[in-house]
């Protein structure tokens, strides 16, 4: 099996060393390069075309979010995992909007990093266990406050199925193949889902799915 090629981008040397140590214990992981700022990360991504970039959200010269945006356009096959100390949704949303597939908290890297690299390298999303818990907690509090019915009940079984696949990061084409449906049907379902749940973007859809515990 081909090893997963990884690039580390963090301005903190000690942390980078720790990450490399942790990752390289996996037989099928290879750290191909290390960058200490966003600009260097972009250059090395161009050079090495890694499968996964593990990126600090805040770095000098060019921060992680802006670097992720550029990677998403210049090298779409590379998946980005964002490392952050922030639990707050505003950071998660911005990271996802920039194109990150994973969002990990720095206080639980050991537990999440390996799984996250595997998950995003297969095209899925990944969030720290703690983030998932927080998002779901928020969601339940909001539900309780507004005493709303669960919006998930608005969806048909087929729509729920498509929601999960879409939230995992699969394209409409992949979904159509998996479910044996036409591309057009999938697109229609997807539009209905966004409309029913009052969502507008893919990151919103992903966060929704995380909150509801549909994906993790």
């Amino acid at each position: 099996m081909k090893p997963i090629r990884i690039l580390l981008a963090d301005d903190h040397n000690v942390l980078r060393d720790g990450l490399r140590l942790l990752l390289e214990r996996q037989p099928d992981f290879v750290v191909v390069a290390e960058a200490s700022d966003g600009r260097e990360a972009l250059r090395l991504v161009d050079e090495h075309r890694p499968d996964v970039v593990v990126m600090d959200i805040a770095m000098p010269v060019l921060n992680g979010i802006d670097a992720t945006k550029q990677i998403a356009t210049s090298c779409a096959s590379t998946a980005v995992i964002m490392l952050s100390m922030h639990h707050d949704e505003s950071y998660i949303v911005r990271a996802l909007n920039a194109g990150a597939r994973g969002y990990l908290l720095k206080d639980s890297l050991k537990a999440d990093l390996i799984a996250a690299v595997k998950s995003v390298s297969q095209g899925h999303s990944y969030f720290s266990q703690k983030i998932r818990a927080l998002l779901q907690e928020d969601y339940f509090r909001q539900m309780a406050d507004k005493q709303k019915t669960d919006s998930l009940e608005l969806l048909t079984a087929r729509e729920s199925e498509i929601l999960q696949l879409a939230a995992e990061g699969r394209s409409n084409k992949e979904v159509a193949q998996l479910l044996n449906l036409s591309l057009y049907t999938v697109e229609t379902h997807r539009a209905h889902i966004l409309q029913k749940l009052n969502l507008h973007t893919v990151p919103e859809l992903i966060l929704y799915a995380v909150r509801k515990g549909i994906i993790h």
């Binding site: 963090d10 903190h12 921060n63």
Partner: protein, 437 residues
């Protein structure tokens, strides 16, 4: 001025006196001259009767003549007392004429009858009549002189009048000048006082302004300090904790033996706790979202934190804010919401609070409303409220509290902003993410 008036009064009274004096003197002297004149006339008549009588004059006539002589002498004496310089010569000649007249006349008394017969007509017409005429002429001249004296008196009075007029004119001039000087002095003094008052007022305004500036500066400095401290905690302490954590976990993986494991686990727990505490402290000092993403994400975070910590349901309804909302406005609104929610939690016994933020072209409206117990907003003015009010006033805004016992509380602020562009901060704005993770 008073002395000038008194002077004028004195002058008027002296004028009146001297007028009277001149008139009295004139009348008195006229009477004396009249006396002399009539005595001489009378003596002439008596002498004629005595002389022209064929026989010697009666003794009664002689007595009469003596009496008249005495009268003229008395009159001459009286007149001499008030003699003018220019009357001296005619008066002396009058006097010698009169003396000569009496001498000549008295010589007739000793006449014999023959002498009388022989000389009486001749004497009467050639001696007595011309003498009498001369005397009367002299008396007339003196009378004229007396009249001139009167005229002179009139002239003096006229002169006095002129002086009075001059004095009055002078006085009026003096009075006008005095008044003018007084007016000028008064105006200058009033102007000076006014200037002083204005200077004081300006000083006062200046002092108040600098006090306000100072307190605004202090607020800014405090905010800068908090931002720096928050960032420092995040970037340095937080990063170090996360590195320690990762290293410790790597060591745990390396299986160093049963003796090391509990220590490493303890280090890991400490590092985790340290990281969490560092992050919380940094966020409490100043939430990084405020600088990284803007006001609305920071308010959402604040609402969520308050809900998590206290159970108060906090809803934020905020329009996307303009990208060019000034830093100080963001901070002001964030701190007001923070303080208001703090008050709700501490005092209101509320179950829910609503934060709403709206903006128009040139102003931003914020309300924080709760469903709690409320209070008497007129009488209660805690320090928290003053702090909020001060922040709002620094930016030229309006701060208001609407509350009544049992009716909940609404904090309202309105901030003026220089023409805001309609361009808004969308969630994609991430250019400002600071060096934290």
């Amino acid at each position: 001025m008073a002395s000038a008036q008194i002077g004028a009064l004195l002058m008027i009274s002296s004028l009146r006196q001297s007028g009277q004096q001149v008139e009295e003197r004139f009348l008195k002297r006229s009477r004396i001259l009249e006396d002399i004149r009539s005595a001489i006339y009378l003596s002439g008549t008596v002498a004629r009767d005595s002389i022209l009588a064929p026989t010697g004059g009666a003794s009664s006539e002689l007595a009469e003549l003596n009496h008249l002589h005495q009268r003229t002498d008395d009159a001459l004496e009286r007149y001499q007392k008030s003699l003018d310089a220019e009357e001296a010569t005619p008066f002396a000649s009058l006097r010698s004429e009169i003396e000569a007249y009496w001498r000549v006349l008295s010589s007739t008394f000793a006449w014999t009858d023959s002498e009388r017969k022989q000389f009486r007509y001749q004497f009467f017409y050639s001696e007595l009549v011309p003498r009498r005429t001369a005397m009367l002429q002299i008396a007339d001249r003196i009378g004229q002189l007396n009249e001139r004296g009167l005229l002179r008196g009139d002239e003096q009075v006229a002169k006095l009048f002129d002086r009075l007029r001059l004095a009055l004119i002078g006085m009026i001039g003096l009075t006008l000048m005095g008044g003018l000087a007084l007016a000028v002095f008064t105006s200058v003094t009033a102007l000076r006082l006014q200037n002083e008052v204005r200077a004081r007022l300006e000083e006062n305004i200046e002092a108040k302004k600098s006090l306000r500036d100072l307190s605004a500066k202090l607020l800014r400095a405090q905010e800068d300090e908090r931002r720096a401290l928050s960032r420092e905690l995040h970037d340095e302490a937080g990063q170090s904790f996360s590195a320690i954590l990762l290293e410790t976990e790597n060591l745990l993986d390396a299986e160093l033996g049963a003796a090391a494991k509990p220590h490493l686990e303890s280090i890991r727990n400490l590092a985790q706790r340290g990281m969490a505490e560092t992050r919380n402290m940094a966020l409490l000092l100043r939430p990084s979202m405020l600088d990284d993403f803007g006001l609305v994400p920071a308010l959402n975070w604040q609402a969520k934190e308050t809900a998590k910590r206290t159970g108060l349901r906090v809803q934020v309804s905020a329009a996307d804010l303009p990208r060019d909302l000034p830093e100080e406005h963001k901070t002001c609104i964030y701190r007001v919401v923070q303080e208001a929610l703090h008050n709700v939690v501490r005092h209101a016994q509320a179950s829910a609070a609503q934060v709403s933020l709206q903006w128009e072209e040139e102003r931003i409206d914020l309300t924080v409303q709760d469903d709690g117990t409320g209070f008497d907003a007129v009488r209660v003015r805690g320090l928290g409220l003053l702090g909020m009010e001060e922040r709002v006033h620094h930016l030229g805004g309006i701060f208001a509290i609407d509350s009544q016992p049992g009716r909940g509380t609404t904090v309202k602020i309105q901030l003026p902003v220089a023409q805001l562009r309609s361009e808004v901060t969308y969630e994609t704005n991430s250019h400002s993410v600071s060096r934290r993770s």
